[in-house]
């Protein structure tokens, strides 16, 4: 493949190149800027003049940029020390280096939004402008967020192993909470998780990758042409991406076989059971309830309990679902929406309409609010 025509391929080289600069003694913040400049240069020049060794080209150009900055900022002695180290080439340790970058960018000292921004730039190779557009904030704000994040982790040693679960939380956030801009954040999250899975053998990394693939597979069916949400039971399953489903299921099965269950694997298992049902009616709800029981044991999250109540309502009938719901706090997000759905299935249409309208007022996103309002309207005007 011609690397000049594939910016994702160019960006895929980002963490390895950055890690080499840091290994050579460059400070992370300056090295990261230098790699960004090299990426911009690559996107500009490679289409007409593709390099034989793309990664080597990026290392050379980024290192030169770094030295330019270092020359401007550091003493002559420091500069000579750096130049002395320059000849150290070689592909060694690239695997570990990439992983270290993930750890650094998801460091626990960073706020979630900072970790997301830094990961997308330093590991993902996206520009500050692309990230700012994806999150609908001014470019100047995003630039500050990233440079603060870099300062925050500047004292972190690069050779210490980190906690992979913090990395997974950041990648999950990128996948789950993106806006629809020029950059497809869900696809970017999948790319970054796939890249992570290639450098670390961990069942939860595989679990998250499977979860992402299984949800991404439904994307085309999730929205109607007018932009409104299509709930799972009304989706045209013929539009689900069978390739992504097959890959997600295969990755999940391999992870589950290792018998080290975690929350992402369990969530992916729920998604896989949905993917496996040819029609909504054929969904294996009892097994989904079992997976939610596992999830409750793993996380004890109220959101999981809420989703479990939905599953119980499908497996054992709306009364059982309402009983499960009654054990939860009614202040939970989407509690009222779930209550409305269960009341509707139980035949209490009047109560359901009132609850749908109330749930719409409490909705935290526009598409869901409109969906709930339509549900209420459908009952009220029947």
């Amino acid at each position: 493949m011609n690397p000049g025509t594939d910016t994702a391929l160019i960006r895929g080289l980002t963490p390895g190149v950055l890690a080499i600069l840091v290994r050579r003694g460059a400070d992370f913040a300056t090295a990261e800027d230098a790699v960004q400049e090299a990426l911009v240069e690559a996107v500009r020049t490679w289409p007409a003049d593709p390099p034989r060794d793309p990664k080597g080209w990026l290392v050379t150009v980024a290192w030169r940029r770094f030295l330019d900055t270092a020359r401007a900022e550091t003493s002559r002695r420091r500069r000579e020390a750096l130049v002395d180290e320059e000849p150290r080439p070689g592909p060694a340790r690239a695997v570990d280096d990439t992983l270290q970058l993930y750890f650094l960018c998801a460091h626990p000292s960073l706020t979630p939004s900072s970790a997301v921004a830094l990961t997308l730039r330093a590991v993902g190779g996206l520009t500050t402008r692309q990230i700012s557009e994806a999150y609908l904030v001014p470019e100047a704000t995003m630039a500050q967020r990233i440079s603060r994040a870099k300062r925050t982790v500047s004292g972190v040693r690069f050779d210490r192993p980190g906690d992979v679960t913090t990395v997974l939380r950041v990648l999950y956030l990128v996948f789950n909470e993106g806006y629809s801009g020029d950059v497809d954040l869900a696809a970017e999250a999948i790319r970054l998780t796939r890249q992570l899975a290639a450098v670390i053998d961990h069942p939860e990394v595989a679990g998250l990758l499977a979860l992402m693939l299984l949800h991404h597979a439904r994307r085309a069916a999730r929205t109607a042409p007018d932009g409104s949400l299509v709930p799972l039971d009304e989706q045209d399953r013929g539009r689900w991406d069978t390739g992504a489903i097959a890959e997600g299921v295969r990755i999940l099965q391999a992870a589950l076989a290792r018998d080290r269950l975690g929350e992402f694997q369990a969530q992916a298992a729920v998604a896989a059971l949905h993917a496996d049902a040819p029609t909504a009616e054929e969904t294996d709800w009892p097994q989904i309830v079992e997976w939610y029981d596992e999830l409750v044991g793993l996380t004890d999250s109220p959101v999981v309990r809420l989703n479990r109540a939905v599953a119980v309502g499908e497996a054992d009938g709306p009364r059982a679902g309402l009983a499960a719901l009654a054990e939860l706090e009614d202040s939970l997000p989407r509690y009222t929406a779930v209550a409305a759905h269960l009341h509707e299935r139980d035949g209490d249409l009047e109560g359901a309409a009132r609850l749908y309208a109330e749930a719409a007022r409490k909705a935290t996103n526009l598409a869901e609010r409109d969906h709930l309002t339509r549900r209420a309207a459908r009952i009220n005007t029947r």
């Binding site: 704000t141 603060r148 996948f175 969530q267 998604a271 935290t364 996103n365 598409a367």
Partner: protein
């Protein structure tokens, strides 16, 4: 990563504690107030939390559709809604707690006597995009 509107308006909330109209402040107090607001916005830019800030003219025009082929009807300003919204700031923060903290700081802007105005600001979350993972 949630956006909030900090809305400065005069409907529904009790009066500010230091409730002296701006035209009764000294010029220095007005300058101190404006400096505080500018510094606040600059600080938010530095923390990567600033999205937008706008002040609105106090008087607006009410407009509505008046049927096919007819120009829109305009009316107002209406006395009771005058000065309804003075302006806003939009922030992008990690938590509701952080949004409350920042709104509290903005409400501490100095007014008469150089003392905080303690004015009520309304904090309204933006509706977001739907999450990708739905079950």
């Amino acid at each position: 990563m949630a956006k909030y509107l900090l809305l400065k308006h005069y409907r529904g909330a009790p009066a500010a504690i230091n409730n002296v109209p701006m035209d009764r402040w000294t010029p220095e107090e007005i300058s101190a107030h404006i400096t505080y607001m500018n510094d606040f916005a600059a600080r938010l830019e530095e923390t990567g939390e600033f999205v937008d800030a706008q002040a609105l003219a106090p008087e607006g025009t009410f407009v509505r559709y008046d049927g096919e082929g007819r120009p829109p009807v305009t009316d107002g300003p209406f006395a009771e809604t005058k000065d309804l919204i003075a302006g806003w700031m939009v922030i992008d923060v990690d938590s509701h707690e952080r949004a409350v903290e920042l709104a509290g700081e903005l409400s501490a802007a100095p007014g008469a006597g150089g003392e905080p105005i303690h004015e009520w600001l309304e904090l309204r979350p933006f509706l977001t995009e739907p999450p990708t993972v739905t079950e």
